[in-house]
């Protein structure tokens, strides 16, 4: 696995200012338990005739994908790989509402056509006319990491040179109410759409390098602590959300570590959803690019971090069943 994998560009839509890094200096702070994403201005990104027919998640996806590609050196990625926990949920929801209200005889084809999880990845391919590898992962809170792992191993093995990787999830007001019941480990809920251009090409425009991507199913704490190296993994970016049910597994891991890393969070300003970890990836990359840690990301540290910002290690779990580890390195 001789090839390298760099992040060449990134774009996000979330409850922070869309397609922007403004959150880094002045984040929007919310008191609500649930906030929808700030919609991006699509007029320079999508033709109005196309935009009208797109659901929210599709508009956000196209906005982040086109923006990330515009800011990168790649126009036609070899692979388009997408993670989404719920897919085009709002269209599925509308189809289910129609089904329960009007029965089985006057349903709308467009809702069904744009309800599958892979609608997202294939729409980008249709717009870009990309005939290459195209895949979609839908596995709860590690949907993004599954896509990243797919791209990463293909790039390391020379099967592809570059890839557009992302994760996208929308949460309707109805789904938020459902999530309150079904996911008691959540706290502040919002939406996420993140696109990243990855390349094996070394360039001064690269943001950072992806040096490790690992997924685990029901790991022992020991398996996770063995992964972490006190000389490398000094800065841990965790999926902490302020809810004990979610945070306890991270705390147990930190207790079992033989050293004390500097610990950071991101869900306090970006919120929780199945694609939240993609925002963690985005935040980690931005920290390395800007060589600075915004104070509001600090979690339970006694001091300000003064060490080298060589690596950021992102740890995430979904229901404490699946775990992921992504190690980013400064370039």
């Amino acid at each position: 696995m001789a090839n390298r994998c760099y992040i060449n560009s990134l774009a996000q839509v979330s409850c922070q200012k869309p397609l922007s890094d403004e959150w880094f200096d002045s984040p929007c702070l919310y008191l609500e338990d649930y906030v929808r994403a700030q919609e991006p201005d699509t007029k320079d990104l999508i033709m109005p005739s196309e935009s009208r027919r797109m659901s929210k998640i599709l508009k956000r996806t196209v906005s982040t994908a086109i923006t990330a590609l515009k800011n990168s050196e790649i126009k036609h990625p070899d692979a388009i790989i997408t993670g989404t926990g719920m897919g085009c949920m709002e269209n599925s929801e509308k189809f289910l509402i129609d089904l329960s209200r009007f029965g089985e005889n006057c349903l709308k084809p467009t809702l069904f056509m744009q309800s599958t999880h892979n609608t997202i990845s294939s729409l980008i391919a249709i717009i870009l006319k990309c005939h290459g590898y195209n895949n979609t992962y839908s596995h709860k809170g590690i949907s993004f990491e599954s896509s990243l792992l797919d791209a990463w191993i293909q790039m390391k093995n020379g099967m592809i040179r570059n890839a557009l990787v992302g994760a996208h999830d929308e949460v309707s007001p109805f789904m938020d109410l459902v999530l309150e019941r079904t996911h008691p480990e959540y706290s502040f809920v919002s939406e996420a759409s993140v696109s990243a251009v990855l390349t094996n090409n070394m360039s001064s425009n690269n943001i950072c390098e992806v040096v490790e991507v690992k997924l685990f199913h029901r790991p022992d704490v020991k398996e996770l602590t063995n992964l972490l190296d006190k000389n490398i993994d000094n800065v841990l970016l965790l999926g902490i959300n302020g809810n004990t049910l979610n945070d306890r597994p991270y705390e147990n891991l930190l207790k079992a570590l033989s050293y004390k890393p500097h610990t950071l969070q991101y869900k306090n300003i970006f919120g929780e959803n199945f694609s939240a970890s993609a925002l963690g990836f985005y935040v980690g990359a931005k920290i390395l690019e800007k060589q600075m840690i915004p104070t509001f990301l600090s979690w339970h540290n006694e001091n300000v971090y003064t060490g080298n910002l060589e690596y950021v290690t992102i740890l995430n779990h979904s229901d404490n069943i699946t775990w992921s580890m992504i190690r980013l390195k400064r370039v």
Binding site: G85, I97, N105, C130, N157, L177
Partner: protein, 405 residues
């Protein structure tokens, strides 16, 4: 980078029955599993489907599982097929601990969701029915299947509509080649739901008669359901375990038609590229392909463009080909692995599955397999799976011939 990926186990459940033996018997006897709808609650009884004969209660009793699995058909079928696959490969608990489990589905727990949705929506989520919606997402069904099979080191879910299982197989093979794992349990599971039966109906691509893939008069799809998993293994692991080999996954490719969300391009660009690239990986030329298990859904659009793509490669000398969808129905996300198991059975037992329901050629020289023929020397099989969004994937399974010494 590990070169070879072998298949060392397989399991299947579909309208043709439970397990490889029942499937083989139905295929050899030309007995279709398509019939009237017995299980799902729908007004659309005019559409024949390929449902698994067992009810949820019967499968739950058979597996000795309770809530919430007893209400999740994708999970129940998935456990049955994955168990058979793991047992046929003789994998131990310890070996499964280090293995990956990659499953494809799109429906996930939609069957449970659609039963509870109205109550939840009308009651503003106050009711406990809302808890049932937890199982809607695809990942949950993969987790529940995995928990009933083994511990696994890595699990995830692919969701690319009707090519989901094929893409799970491709990801599993890439994980083995990258050295992330030596063994991967890969495939897919998908229950028939009112949701997608109605969805396909809005697209007006369901046939009220039994489907007739590659027939001039074909009118559309019969939906089906089922699950199938195969065991992929690295050469080192096969040697170390002394495992018997069912076939080699010699090539594969995932491409995108990049044309339309639910229609395929006229010249079948995605399908063409998928077959071409898979042959490139396998180091095979078109003449080496002995049989194509086509996606062949029976819609006017799919079969026309799939045939166009095949003719771009083989011109008028097409290899033997057939669609087995008239046996199983279109098992959507599971079709990639269900048909992979059918291909492996064909390699092992030296037969080619017939294209049931076929009468009239779409084009001259485009006649699928309709009679029993001696195919004992079939070596390389192409297995196509195409999904909405132009997510096209091709797998190539080859007979494993032990080298001398």
């Amino acid at each position: 980078m590990a070169d070879k990926v072998f298949v060392t186990g397989a399991g299947i459940i579909s309208a043709l029955g439970i397990g490889k033996e029942a499937t083989l018997e139905a295929l050899l006897n030309g007995e279709s599993g398509i019939g009237k709808i017995p299980h799902i609650q729908t007004e659309h009884e005019e559409f024949p489907v390929g449902e698994v004969a067992l009810s949820n209660a019967e499968m739950s009793r058979m597996l000795n599982v309770g809530y919430p699995i007893d209400g999740l058909r994708t999970v129940l079928m998935g456990i049955i097929a994955a168990k058979e696959a793991v047992e046929s490969a003789g994998l131990t608990e310890k070996e499964l601990r280090k293995a990956a489990f990659i499953s494809g589905t799109t429906v996930g727990g939609m069957d449970k969701t659609e039963r509870h949705f109205k109550t939840v929506f009308d009651s503003n989520v106050e009711t406990d029915d809302s808890l049932e919606l937890k199982y809607n997402d695809c990942g949950y069904s993969t987790e529940l299947i995995a928990d009933n099979i083994g511990k696994f080191n890595l699990i995830t879910t692919t969701s690319t509509a009707c090519s989901s299982a094929a893409n799970a197989i491709i990801f599993g093979a890439n994980l083995i080649k990258a050295g992330v794992t030596d063994i991967a349990v890969v495939g897919g599971s998908e229950a028939l739901t009112k949701f997608h039966l109605n969805g396909f109906n809005t697209l007006m691509i369901l046939d009220k008669k039994n489907c007739r893939p590659f027939d001039k008069e074909r009118m559309g799809i019969n939906l089906g359901e089922g699950a199938a998993y195969i065991i992929l293994e690295s050469e080192n692991s096969v040697k170390a375990r002394g495992a018997s080999i069912l076939g080699e996954l010699r090539g594969y490719a995932n491409t995108c038609d990049a044309f339309h969300q639910t229609a395929t391009s006229k010249n079948g660009e995605g399908a063409y590229l998928a077959m071409r690239k898979a042959m490139d990986m396998a180091h095979l030329c078109p003449q080496d392909i002995d049989y194509i298990n086509a996606h062949g859904t029976g819609t006017p659009n799919n079969d026309e463009t799939e045939l166009a793509a095949m003719q771009r490669i083989w011109d008028y000398e097409l290899p033997k080909f057939s669609s087995t969808k008239a046996f199983t129905g279109h098992t959507t996300s599971a079709s990639g692995s269900i048909e992979a198991v059918i291909c492996l059975l064909a390699l092992q037992h030296g037969f080619l599955p017939k294209n049931l329901g076929w009468h009239n050629p779409m084009k001259e020289d485009a006649i699928p397999v309709i009679d029993d023929v001696d195919n004992s020397n079939v070596k390389n099989i192409i297995n196509n799976s195409f999904g909405f969004g132009g997510n096209d994937s091709t797998l190539i399974f080859s007979k494993f011939i032990k080298e001398n010494g």
